[in-house]
């Protein structure tokens, strides 16, 4: 901070709050869902006050997660549209995982990996919401034929599996690319971070008529 007073704002306080509501809800939904998915993880239900409470809370937490995600997705949607240069980035995935970032094409606000991850999130959230309503026995399951309930049960498990896998990648990427976590905790990144990882976004921000970067 002191060395580089010119920080760039990457996420506003509202965006950060929104993100962490989704994140906390996801964590709770994933833990309670895993408790019901595999007997080896049933002990996780103790975190929620036992099996019945896990069954009661899981869908409510899930609803909070999906609703909060709608607002988050609405904000970042336009920056996650795939562009021609994303193809090149994906072709150089070996350079990506080996930290040879100078070999990669310029990246906008999000790189191709982040964009694909975002669309996995969107698809999984939609799948989880729809299938989750169908298998919510207390309120909705009786309105659906048994075949649909069975399909929804499997779909729910598949979407949850994909989402948890995607989130593992998401969390690791935030640890791996140093300085990313700060963007979502304090909202800012250093110019060097933006220049290195998201150069097109860096230029867009610093060249704008009214740059959000603070001059000295």
């Amino acid at each position: 901070m002191n060395e580089h007073p010119d920080t760039l704002i990457r996420y506003t306080a509202n965006e950060r709050t929104n993100h962490w509501i989704v994140a906390l809800a996801f964590l709770l939904a994933a833990l309670s869902g895993l408790a019901l998915f595999h007997p080896a993880l049933y002990w996780l239900s103790a975190l929620f006050g036992g099996g019945p409470w896990t069954r009661i809370l899981h869908p409510i937490i899930g609803l909070i997660m999906t609703i909060a995600f709608v607002f988050l997705a609405a904000v970042v949607w336009k920056d996650n549209r795939l562009e021609p240069r994303d193809r090149e980035w994906l072709h150089r995935i070996k350079d990506v995982v080996n930290n040879r970032e100078e070999q990669l094409p310029e990246v906008g606000r999000y790189n191709a990996g982040q964009k694909l991850l975002f669309f996995v999130f969107v698809v999984c959230m939609v799948g989880l919401l729809l299938s989750g309503l169908v298998i919510w026995r207390q309120y909705f399951s009786m309105y659906f034929p048994i075949g649909i309930v069975r399909f929804a049960s499997l779909l729910h498990a598949v979407c949850a599996f994909l989402l948890i896998g995607a989130i593992i990648l998401h969390i690791y990427a935030a640890i791996w690319v140093k300085g990313s976590l700060r963007a979502m905790t304090r909202g800012t990144v250093t110019p060097g971070w933006a220049w290195k990882h998201h150069r097109a976004w860096f230029r867009e921000r610093t060249h704008a008529a009214n740059p959000r970067a603070r001059p000295d």
Partner: protein, 301 residues
């Protein structure tokens, strides 16, 4: 209930062997329901209510013989009536006592996520242990016969226990005791098969060529079996499934997907850890910061 002196061969959501040193030495049990002898008196329904202390809500008469209208958490067995016009143009009144079939391969138990909420005893009875039930309804999703019901009051699943409490102490289920025509019989599964064979022979001699035993192999056989006049068309009997089996969707969901998903997630976590160890973090250097600042200053001028 789960502490009674019956041996358990399967226990829901449990990956280690259940207690199983004692065996059902006299063989598995079965209830045989002879639809050809049933007169639809509903004595079995009453006996079930009495023994299990069940009192369903009194419904309304909608002009059909079924009473109550469907199985519920407080009605574990139900006579279902079908008026069937046979090819000769005669009316046949097909009456089937519906309830849990006590499958050898129970879909409810396979689907249940709560350890010990559903058990299968060595004698073949599949029993719900409500104290372990979490009310998710997966047993309904897994059942090929649409039997379990969840109470709106306590959110626990209920169904016929085959009077496991009576059977455990050497008595026959309450419904059997009440049947006035001998349509309901209880004994070892082997004895019940033999008894059914005699009945089927008799029925065939009376012109019911397709009479037969309903003991569907798709669910490994059942511990509640039917003698049907039309064993070639079980659907005639209020939709008794011709070839019941655990749905392949449930099979994938509760079978192969569980270890694969867990292993894949654990491995992806491990892969991330080793990426960190081998490649390390992607860090912004002082050089990067300088390059950024000089670019910013260059453009600001």
């Amino acid at each position: 209930m789960s502490l009674q002196s019956l041996d358990i061969v399967r226990r829901s959501a449990t990956t280690t062997p259940p207690p199983g040193i004692r065996r059902a030495a006299t063989g598995a049990v079965a209830k045989l329901i002879d639809t050809t002898k049933c007169i639809g008196c509903k004595a079995c329904q009453v006996a079930c209510m009495e023994w299990n202390d069940l009192r369903d809500e009194v419904g309304t008469n909608v002009g059909v013989y079924e009473n109550p209208a469907d199985l519920t958490e407080a009605s574990w067995t139900l006579m279902r009536f079908t008026e069937y016009e046979n090819p000769e143009g005669d009316l046949e009144w097909l009456i089937r006592k519906d309830g849990c079939m006590h499958c050898a391969d129970p879909g409810c138990l396979k689907a249940c996520p709560a350890p010990g909420a559903i058990v299968q005893y060595a004698n073949g009875i599949v029993d719900f242990q409500q104290e372990n039930c979490i009310g998710c309804g997966y047993c309904i999703t897994g059942c090929p016969f649409d039997i379990p019901r969840i109470s709106k009051r306590d959110h626990k699943a209920y169904k016929c226990t085959l009077c496991s409490d009576r059977v455990a102490v050497g008595r026959e289920p309450a419904c059997i005791k009440s049947c006035p025509t001998g349509a309901l019989v209880f004994g070892t599964k082997e004895d019940m098969r033999q008894h059914a064979e005699e009945r089927i022979e008799d029925l065939k001699s009376r012109g019911f060529d397709q009479a037969g035993l309903y003991d569907p192999p798709g669910v490994g056989g059942t511990h509640v079996m039917y003698v049907l006049h039309h064993a070639d068309r079980p659907e005639l009997y209020s939709g008794l499934p011709a070839d019941p089996h655990i749905s392949p969707l449930v099979g994938i969901w509760k079978g192969i997907s569980k270890p694969i998903a867990l292993a894949t997630l654990a491995l992806s976590g491990l892969a991330a850890f080793f990426h960190y160890i081998r490649v390390g973090r992607n860090e912004v250097t002082e050089q990067d910061e300088r390059a950024a600042v000089s670019e910013m200053e260059g453009r600001h001028e």
